[in-house]
């Protein structure tokens, strides 16, 4: 039987959730036996080369590029999982939500104490190569359909392990209390 294929990505996240995935310690050897990885920063595969069973998404959507990646994941993965608070509710990047993006950009590039006297030409970065900031940070499920959610900042390694093995073996996740946290 072919092994299930996993893809992972970090959108507007800090890679902490990926770190937490690595925190499963020696079980990573077991995981390698159980699954194959496709597009993922773990193996540095940049584009999908096949259809995947499970996509793990870290981070919410803060840029148009995040949306494109997320939509690509939705297209190529049978099951999508929002991993961590940023994917689930925007997380710390979403602290800017509620403040108009223009105000945020002006604070960051024009008016903030570190740029006020140095950015004399009042330049706002706007190269065409740069992705475009969205009006707010969107939780992943407010952009595409997400099938499962693993809370935590980051989700505890045990929770990720518990959920992954459940998905792989097609049994219900049991989300134990001690590792079910939002922080």
């Amino acid at each position: 039987m072919e092994k299930p294929v996993i893809a992972t990505t970090s959108l507007a996240g800090c890679f902490g959730c990926h770190m937490s995935l690595l925190d499963i310690d020696e079980r990573i050897l077991e995981l390698i036996e159980l699954v194959d990885f496709n597009k993922s920063p773990i193996n540095d595969i940049k584009t999908f080369t096949r259809e995947c069973d499970i996509g793990l998404i870290e981070g919410g959507c803060c840029l148009d590029e995040n949306v494109h990646v997320l939509e690509d994941f939705r297209k190529h993965c049978r099951i999508l999982v929002s991993v961590g608070e940023c994917a689930i509710m925007g997380g710390l990047p979403a602290m800017r939500n509620g403040i108009p993006i223009r105000e945020c950009l002006e604070e960051a590039y024009l008016n903030g104490p570190t740029v006020r006297y140095t950015n004399n030409e009042k330049i706002m970065p706007n190269d065409e190569e740069l992705p475009i900031m969205l009006d707010r940070v969107y939780p992943c499920h407010e952009v595409v359909k997400i099938d499962y959610f693993l809370p935590g900042c980051p989700p505890r390694a045990d929770l990720i392990w518990n959920a992954l093995t459940a998905l792989i073996n097609n049994r219900e996740m049991d989300l134990p209390y001690e590792v079910f946290k939002f922080d």
Binding site: V67, P100, I101, L105, N126, I132, M133, D135, E142, V143
Partner: protein, 601 residues
């Protein structure tokens, strides 16, 4: 300023229970309630600034900032929009040169939105400095703004002439029309004020009065339908040194305006009903709680109460009955729908935020100031007078078995004869449409936004407590109306605007439902969104009061009765749509950065 505040405080004996009146007077004399005013009156009333702020910030007609020498409040009710409110509002904005919810730079004109003001039969209508200006057109708006700019007085702004009946009374002088289309036994003008008090009350014990009211089977006319006789009896039996009779004239349900007509044309009947209730329950004090929108009736009503005192219909030893003392004061609201809920009304009359209380205890046990209190609708008191005059049995000869007597209906919308109709309970929706000259009707909103939107399939249903229960608001919509966009969305926004915010459920859920509805109207809805609405709305059943519990009625009843309208809007061929729109989401960011290097000056 301090002098003026001091005299207002003196007028109400520095009594914090009269905070509503104090704030109303400050708002009226200064045009707003400043931080300084709040800071001044709080210690004078021996309460904290927080206590003043919580009441001040609750009511729509209290403002922290100046509202203009001429403050114009244009009604946002559904009937106003049906009668071309958009064009009127646009003209106001163009002529005044400002958008709504702002004041001209010279402080002359303020433009504001406001929920239904009880003029649904003469829309669009605005309140300017407390005076009503109904039947507005763009032409009339231009005249008004021109005259305001020319420095004309409020009296000089009126060019329409005063309305029918008592609207022309020198104590009222309002450009409002009664539009009474059908008179029944309760509104019957052949009525001698004080007759029941003088001729009948002295012959009956309070218990006998209650017995007669119970015998009539009359139920509360505000909409909830609690048996009036039982309410009076419960209050009678409650032991207390003081009891209160409160008349609920806060009619805020969009589409209802019958109490306004009764207050104008049959106020003596109403006051007589309150006196009878006082006699029956042993109450010595009464409060007539009138919505702020009807403040133009203030002098008129005050003089009537004064007149009642002079004729011994109020005051001490009323009608010669030894020890029967009763006095009524008028309490105005300040713009809040939820104050129509009896316990919220009581809170408001105590000078507080109009937040409904947890029940039990009910007001008959613990009401105004914790004393046993009967709160009845205007129409209930009026009907009680006729019950005593003609007997409970006579009253029961009208209406149906479970809904005896008559109901005064407020009919508006797409019909030739909007206005007031007193009919027996048991009329069908079809009868009502025919009576009011409504043809080609797509739907009727029965009982206002908190009632239900019914379609032609239900037009043979009847108005009564067992079937279509109603406080009397009926709004007709013909086939030219977009029910979801024009009606359901408007009503849902109304509930959002008027929630007191105290319960989590009613504060949050209507916003979520409105956003779902908008998603459907924006053609991004899928079948799941309809299912979500039905499932999500369930949580509102856990709300404390009727407003919260019925806040989803516009959406739920329209999904039930006009499912096809939703089905026309929802997307086919897809089961899932988050509603996310990348292009929209990028617009602000693109505008802020631009596509080429921008140098800001």
């Amino acid at each position: 300023m301090e002098q003026q505040l001091a005299s207002i405080l003196d007028k109400y004996q520095h009594n914090p229970l009269r905070l509503m009146d104090i704030l109303i007077d400050i708002q009226e004399s200064a045009g707003y309630i400043s931080e300084e005013a709040v800071g001044y009156i709080a210690p004078e009333l021996n309460i904290s600034r927080a206590d003043v702020e919580q009441t001040r910030s609750f009511y729509h007609f209290f403002s922290k900032k100046p509202t203009g020498k001429y403050s114009i409040f244009l009604n946002t009710s559904v009937t106003a929009y049906m009668m071309r409110r958009n064009a009127v509002a646009r003209t106001f904005e163009q002529e005044a040169g400002i958008p709504f919810n702002s004041v001209t730079r010279d402080g002359l004109i303020g433009l504001f939105d406001t929920s239904c003001i009880g003029m649904s039969d003469q829309e669009p209508a605005a309140i300017i400095n407390g005076k009503i200006f109904p039947n507005l057109t763009p032409f009339r708006v231009k005249e008004l703004i021109r005259d305001i700019r020319a420095g004309k007085s409020m009296e000089e702004l009126v060019v329409e002439g005063y309305g029918d009946g008592e609207n022309s009374n020198e104590d009222i002088r309002a450009v409002v029309n009664n539009n009474i289309r059908k008179i029944g036994p309760v509104l019957d003008p052949r009525y001698k004020p004080g007759e029941v008090i003088w001729d009948i009350l002295p012959k009956l014990t309070p218990e006998q009065v209650i017995e007669e009211v119970k015998n009539s089977n009359i139920r509360g006319r505000g909409g909830a339908g609690f048996p009036t006789g039982m309410k009076w009896e419960l209050c009678r039996k409650a032991k207390a040194d003081e009891k209160y009779i409160i008349c609920n004239a806060d009619e805020g349900e969009p589409g209802t305006f019958k109490d306004r007509v009764i207050l104008t044309e049959r106020p003596k009947l109403l006051l007589e009903g309150m006196v009878i209730a006082a006699y029956a329950t042993g109450a010595t004090r009464g409060i007539l709680y009138v919505r702020h929108e009807y403040k133009y009736l203030k002098t008129y009503l005050e003089n009537l109460i004064q007149g009642a005192h002079e004729r011994n219909l109020m005051g001490n030893d009323i009608a010669g009955i030894k020890g029967f003392n009763f006095d009524v004061r008028i309490q105005f609201g300040a713009g809040s729908y939820v104050c129509g809920e009896e316990s919220a009304l009581i809170e408001s009359a105590e000078g507080k935020r109009g937040e409904p209380r947890d029940k039990p205890p009910f007001p008959v046990e613990s009401g105004y100031l914790g004393k046993p209190t009967v709160v009845n609708n205007v129409e209930t008191f009026c009907s009680a007078v006729k019950v005593l005059l003609n007997g409970g049995e006579w009253y029961r000869s009208f209406g149906t078995e479970d809904s005896t007597g008559t109901k005064v209906l407020s009919i508006s919308g797409d019909c030739r004869y909007p206005g007031i109709y007193e009919v027996e309970w048991g009329f069908s929706v079809n009868d009502i449409c025919e009576m009011a000259g409504a043809e080609d009707i797509q739907g009727v909103q029965v009982g206002g936004p908190s009632g239900s939107l019914v379609g032609p399939g239900d037009f043979d249903r009847t108005l009564c407590f067992a079937d279509l229960s109603t406080g009397g608001s009926l709004i007709m919509f013909n086939y030219s109306r977009d029910l979801l966009q024009d009606v359901v969305l408007n009503f849902t926004n109304f509930f959002i605007e008027e929630s007191c915010g105290s319960c989590s459920t009613c504060r949050i859920m209507p916003v979520l439902l409105r956003d779902k509805l908008k998603k459907i109207l924006d053609a991004r809805g899928v079948k799941k969104d309809m299912d979500d609405i039905l499932a999500w709305a369930e949580v509102l059943k856990a709300s404390r009061c009727g407003l919260g519990q019925t806040a989803s009625n516009p959406i739920i009843s329209s999904i039930r009765n006009f499912k096809h309208l939703y089905e026309q809007k929802i997307r086919r061929g897809t089961e899932y749509d988050t509603g996310f729109d990348l292009n929209m989401a990028m617009q602000d960011g693109m505008a802020a950065t631009g596509r080429f290097p921008v140098t800001q000056s």
